[in-house]
Symmetry: D2
Subunit: 357 residues, 4 copies
Amino acid sequence: MTDESEDEGEHGHDHEGEGEGESEGYHEPDRETFSHDPVGHTEVRAGMTVGDLVEQYGRAGLGAADVHEAADVTAKMFDDDVTVFFGLAGAMAPTGMRRIVSDLIRDGYIDVLVTTGANLTHDSIEAIGGKHHHGEVHAEGKTEREHDETLRDEEVDRIYNVYLPQEHFADFEGHLREEVFPEIEETVSIERLTRELGRANAEVNDRKGIEEDAGIAAAAYENDVPVYCPAIQDSVLGLQAWMYSQTTDFSLDALADMTPLTDRAFEAEEAGAFVVGGGVPKNFTLQTMLVTPGAYDYAVQLTMDPPQTGGLSGATLDEARSWGKLEKDAENVSVYADASVTLPLIVAAARERLEST
Amino acid sequence: MTDESEDEGEHGHDHEGEGEGESEGYHEPDRETFSHDPVGHTEVRAGMTVGDLVEQYGRAGLGAADVHEAADVTAKMFDDDVTVFFGLAGAMAPTGMRRIVSDLIRDGYIDVLVTTGANLTHDSIEAIGGKHHHGEVHAEGKTEREHDETLRDEEVDRIYNVYLPQEHFADFEGHLREEVFPEIEETVSIERLTRELGRANAEVNDRKGIEEDAGIAAAAYENDVPVYCPAIQDSVLGLQAWMYSQTTDFSLDALADMTPLTDRAFEAEEAGAFVVGGGVPKNFTLQTMLVTPGAYDYAVQLTMDPPQTGGLSGATLDEARSWGKLEKDAENVSVYADASVTLPLIVAAARERLEST
Amino acid sequence: MTDESEDEGEHGHDHEGEGEGESEGYHEPDRETFSHDPVGHTEVRAGMTVGDLVEQYGRAGLGAADVHEAADVTAKMFDDDVTVFFGLAGAMAPTGMRRIVSDLIRDGYIDVLVTTGANLTHDSIEAIGGKHHHGEVHAEGKTEREHDETLRDEEVDRIYNVYLPQEHFADFEGHLREEVFPEIEETVSIERLTRELGRANAEVNDRKGIEEDAGIAAAAYENDVPVYCPAIQDSVLGLQAWMYSQTTDFSLDALADMTPLTDRAFEAEEAGAFVVGGGVPKNFTLQTMLVTPGAYDYAVQLTMDPPQTGGLSGATLDEARSWGKLEKDAENVSVYADASVTLPLIVAAARERLEST
Amino acid sequence: MTDESEDEGEHGHDHEGEGEGESEGYHEPDRETFSHDPVGHTEVRAGMTVGDLVEQYGRAGLGAADVHEAADVTAKMFDDDVTVFFGLAGAMAPTGMRRIVSDLIRDGYIDVLVTTGANLTHDSIEAIGGKHHHGEVHAEGKTEREHDETLRDEEVDRIYNVYLPQEHFADFEGHLREEVFPEIEETVSIERLTRELGRANAEVNDRKGIEEDAGIAAAAYENDVPVYCPAIQDSVLGLQAWMYSQTTDFSLDALADMTPLTDRAFEAEEAGAFVVGGGVPKNFTLQTMLVTPGAYDYAVQLTMDPPQTGGLSGATLDEARSWGKLEKDAENVSVYADASVTLPLIVAAARERLEST
């Protein structure tokens, strides 16, 4: 603090210089909160890299500064001997963020994945050759309501501006019944099911020569990254698992994953949480630290929900600190903006820093 | 449409009357989209009832009109032979909305409850004599971060502007181990656990003469309302269940609840969804209709998340229609505002309409 | 602080009693941040008044607590010898909040009004017999874009879910040219124009026997409440003023209002700011205190914009304190929710408290 | 439409091929709304350019797709013979977006600027050697409220996470009184004042050899870009103008700018609106087209406010179409995310496309 005060003094002096005596006779008040740290102005130019852009964000304030800091914390989290727990909420896989996550797994940046049954369902549909499609929130010739009524008649499901023809669910059901469920004729952990799903997705993707990559579950299977999915019932994958359980000995133990997950958190020398969106993936990723002596050393969340309503999805990471989910000296950043924009931005910038040398 | 056009013509005439010839020579264009439906202006007065206020909202546009419509749909949903599925997301029980829900259950307005482990945890803590407390997002003398570091030292957990001293979790653990778990020494459905929890909460609340009411789980138990909690692992209740399962034969079957839940949806003559917040409670409530031939006839959601980011929590109910979760002719309203404000407002107005006669 | 600590000690004791020894051997940590202040649970019943409901909000946390506190500060602001500056942003008058504001002016609760040219335009249209109409964001048979294309063909302007047939602008133009502008054939202050507008609105409303009340500008005129409108050019009223100025000696002095406004702030013994929405009305209301030695003693803002993006409209009132716009010990509350819902709620509750005795 | 149906048929065939008979016996429903347009998945890699990233966004859905489309429309707007009206709301200049705008003006991409007095104030402060500083929303050792109380004592103003020491306002006042006001001793248009300000900023910046660039007003002056500022009173610049007017013949005509602005809109062969934030700059930019026969052919808005509250700042550009502010066939995109992130992203991508050849 003393150093900063001196520093401040010097800058104060500089400032007078800059002001060229216009404030003559002006006595600057004692300033302890304020310290000299000028805002620069973001400059952009044709052909700059994403890493350059994110550096430029660091000169500015507002959310731009948060994106810069998030890239910084992400690079630290990805670079060191940090065990990275990655939380991925619902609509990210079907809407175009699938490859970013599967590439991060393949390149060893993610150690544990917590996600939703919906993401695994849509990830698998693409692994076996199905496709999501660009669509419209408001279609020509219809209100949103009429639009959705028509889509229902056309047997097309809508996820904001993305469509999924429903026959892909039938294909997915066939995949589960032929390639996944036969391997598990007993009560197993949810992680065992997601592992078999990843294996089957990888096999079918390869066997059929599907153009799209095998995806998140497959990458996790091939890289020994466990995939946890606490609310699996809350998805088409869960509905299919339930229907299969009706006629076989198969079922899922809701509690069995917590021992290996907790062990992983326990063993981590340093731990990082990278959380995209809210809901169960966010809370479950953070909660893991409740039953271990440690807590997260790094945390980045990309959230689309506001903090001021008090909901968990938009809650700050500082709030998580009161529960002991983050270390008191953890480096943590929340970015309040559309995650489909900020996730690629931050991952590209972190990769540029880590891989460019 | 013809009727409306005629209607329009008349109103057009009225309008010319109002304008007193100022627009003389003016030829009104053909108007099919527009029809005469004047906005009134909301009037308020000292001592008006909540029902009066909500009627006044109906005169205005913007979100006020949505609140009015939501009260209307809620009254229909609560009044008729409608099976009501109520989804209750995370922070509502600890922050003051517990009694509204338990009263709705007691008065027979809710038939099926879908909620989170967090709500059941905090509901139970109050049932057995613990209390949440008003707190601060920003405490005197500290940043949010320092504030939360201090709370950690003081062993107090923060939920936005609400505090919970951590010893209540120890009390809750004792309650589970003494009153709840001993009754279930095998693998059971999650609903079976929430039912035993409700029973135990009711018993202890009564035995100890706790001032606060026995709460949501207890009211559900006493009124045969099943409580579904798909992501139970994602809560302190789930953590305790896991720890208990380590040393006993107790465990939870993740899929076992889906048969009775689906049967209930199947049997409903008319079905309504009242969804507070997003996440798993919202999706699971809506998903239930995916495996039945029917769909919701009424739906109200009070959400705090914006629709334009594409996340499920803020998604419109029309989007749910494309999936077949709502009937094509369902009456549905989304209210985009803080649910801690709109839930009491809408329930009070609906009750005034239903119970005042 | 000592008192509170003692208080805390007692409550701690109470708490042990509540816990009935379940935490035996438990040593509560030193707690300075936390103090005993139990959250109650909001109860609602058929026929309760709005004041009752707002009292019940005060038992809860989250935004409900903010609404309760806002009603409290509003009652203080309205009750005492406080000069109330009321900022009213754009879409409020046409969408149904016109009467609440005109009634507040008539009943003496507002001393200075800062608003937009848009609000004055739409307020005047209704004063002279025009009407806004309930409309649709998404019309039957069209996307939002097609809907708006059709409305353009039909010569109907849309304000979210409210329509305005364009011929009302012609009526408004006639009103200005016949009743307002002839009175001012020189360069005047903007407030002089809004005053003449209020006079004319009141006269025509009365003369024609218009059913709707004469509105905000008229009430302000009749109660000697000045109406400031810094960005008047940015409205249909401003466009009309400009067109009139082309052929006459009429014009508007952009700076002339600042002396009487500043004088009013200067003379206020106590000052309160009630701000609905953001933009110029918010900033100008707050800025007024920059050039006086005093600052606001009370402030309530009902904002629909999030604070985390750094925009002024969603900025906290604490931020305004750093600029000296609020007294350091001012009572201030920000309510983050749809103002068309919260304005009637808070005004009704404040009136109930002030007028029920 | 026929073409698309055929196209769909083919894709349907492809799809069956992909599905390898798993849906055998499945009859695809008639699909007119849905058409084959697969979502790709955004890929990122170290060292990619911003243009590459924005191309990748185009493969995804959600907000990423909007950023891609916005870059596309921006490139068209900047490239062709389009007159570009640029609206710049409040906090952008002091928080780090000043250079992006001044560079766009220098490179000829902007023809007319509409902004706030606040932006011009903060832009000028930096032109003459003052600086804004990185700061904290929550400072160490304080609540937000205490933090802002302390900043007040320290004479530092806060704009979200940016600080401005108040002596810079004194320097700015000196600048106005010495370099700007003496040139205008009569009633002038607001644009005349902003032009003199730009001239003075450029001169002083050059004379003193200030490291930071001369900024937005200076660039506009040097490139004959008019700067309109309807609510100039609502800023420190306006307060200073008012104080100067008290003792001189200087004043500002609120209506005088509307003729040249409207002429410019009238003469534009094609017109584009690029709007950053809401408020008066957004509305005034759009309103300009109300009094001309034409309307905008291109429009991009980067807004931080939600549309569902009905406020103008978050209103869709389609709504503006109902008023005739946009051509019916205009290309328009709204990006709902933090503008300090999206403005640099979109400008860099548009420049890469336009300048890389």
